[in-house]
Symmetry: C2
Subunit: 248 residues, 2 copies
């Protein structure tokens, strides 16, 4: 009946050797299958081929394992956002938009991490390391917003970068939470989450007075020979189509 367990032990010996990693991996798989709420310490142990008590040698309790996953999630998240931002290349606006897309991509492609980070009900503020990781991730968005704010058209008051960052974050998070996952919580949408976010950000930036044609690659210092983009706020004669495409 229980030859599986014994065989497994025979294969690997009394000591697992890398249980902590194995547990984290197992937890990720399980969360992907059954959600952050459905995931079980005992299941992870089973999947790693150890007794239900073994995990306690590596994590104080179930919540600490979840927190570890969330923390790794924030680290990967930060990395993805940083990579998407690519220090603002080739131009700030393009890079900025990539960051928003990276947010959605992360939510879709790493639903387990996303779950542990944002939906597990973990008290972020009670875990300093977790909070720090979360803040480092947000700092990427904030830095991007800072650079973008610096490009705000002169003559208008410059928007606070922190506010912009929070706005972009909440847009991305709202879309990701409501519509962003593989098949969970999906309502029928007239457009993809990516398109939805792209339009939202474009409209928002236009509201701040940024020029918003599709290729706003003309920055002070950029080596562009084109004429500067026409601000979208030119009036009725200005842009005939909005960020959502031509009306049908």
């Amino acid at each position: 009946m229980s030859w599986r367990k014994d065989q497994r032990r025979a294969e690997r010996g009394y000591h697992h050797g890398n249980l902590k990693e194995a547990l984290l991996q197992a937890a990720l798989d399980l969360i992907a299958q059954k959600g952050a709420a459905g995931f079980t310490f005992a299941d992870a142990a089973r999947m790693a081929g150890v007794s239900p008590a073994a995990p306690y040698r590596h994590f104080r309790d179930r919540d600490e394992l979840l927190a570890s996953i969330a923390q790794r999630g924030y680290e990967q998240f930060e990395q993805q956002l940083t990579q998407a931002w690519d220090d603002g290349r080739p131009d700030t606006a393009t890079a900025f938009e990539r960051v928003g897309k990276a947010y959605l991509r992360f939510a879709r492609e790493e639903p387990s991490f996303y779950s542990a980070m944002f939906e597990s009900g973990l008290p972020v503020e009670s875990n300093p390391a977790l909070q720090a990781a979360s803040e480092r991730a947000f700092a990427v968005i904030r830095a991007a917003a800072e650079r973008l704010a610096a490009l705000a058209p002169p003559g208008l008051p410059r928007p606070p970068a922190m506010m912009m960052a929070l706005h972009i974050w909440s847009m991305s998070h709202g879309i990701a939470s409501l519509f962003g996952r593989g098949d969970a919580a999906r309502r029928k949408l007239p457009m993809s989450p990516e398109e939805l976010l792209e339009a939202e950000v474009l409209i928002y930036l236009r509201g701040l007075g940024f020029p918003t044609d599709r290729k706003p690659s003309a920055e002070p210092g950029a080596r562009s020979a084109e004429p500067p983009p026409v601000p979208a706020s030119d009036g009725p004669a200005g842009s005939p189509t909005g960020p959502w495409g031509r009306p049908k």
Copy 2:
């Protein structure tokens, strides 16, 4: 030792009389205390003073109780939004902003419902009644967006109301989820969630070409003698302050 239970039973007789309601109420209290994940069927039964098996006479399982709460939540949510919208009185923009605030207020003042609705991991689409209730709530936002879209300045392409509704929804939801609750998941903010949302919506609407002075009460058909508000997209000479107040 167990006189409490017996006494309770003596007070109310063998039959509870209103167990279903009592369980829903108990569950709300428990979710408020310990979160949607921490809430327990047995606890609710205890709080209602009945045996752990009694709830099964009223709910197929724990998830059905949670779904009932979520459904009531959506109904109350719809009601609050409808009331905030007040059919667009006194003017569309004011009422629209009230809807956003109502969203945040609901998240803050009914965290139990909000939890059950958005954070419990319930598969909304698997429960037709729940899904319908959720869609009725969204329909309020959508109807408001419809009215607002109809007021879009002429000459520019009219934004799709559905898209606007989804944008407003995701903004509100993002802010509520990230910053909106009593003390959970709160990061230190330079402004209140309400102010953050108000600024975001204002910037967004301006991006769509809507006039955005603080009292945009001039609508076609409104009994206003003022001149129409100046569009915010007038250029550098236009509005000296943004939605976030004067720069310091």
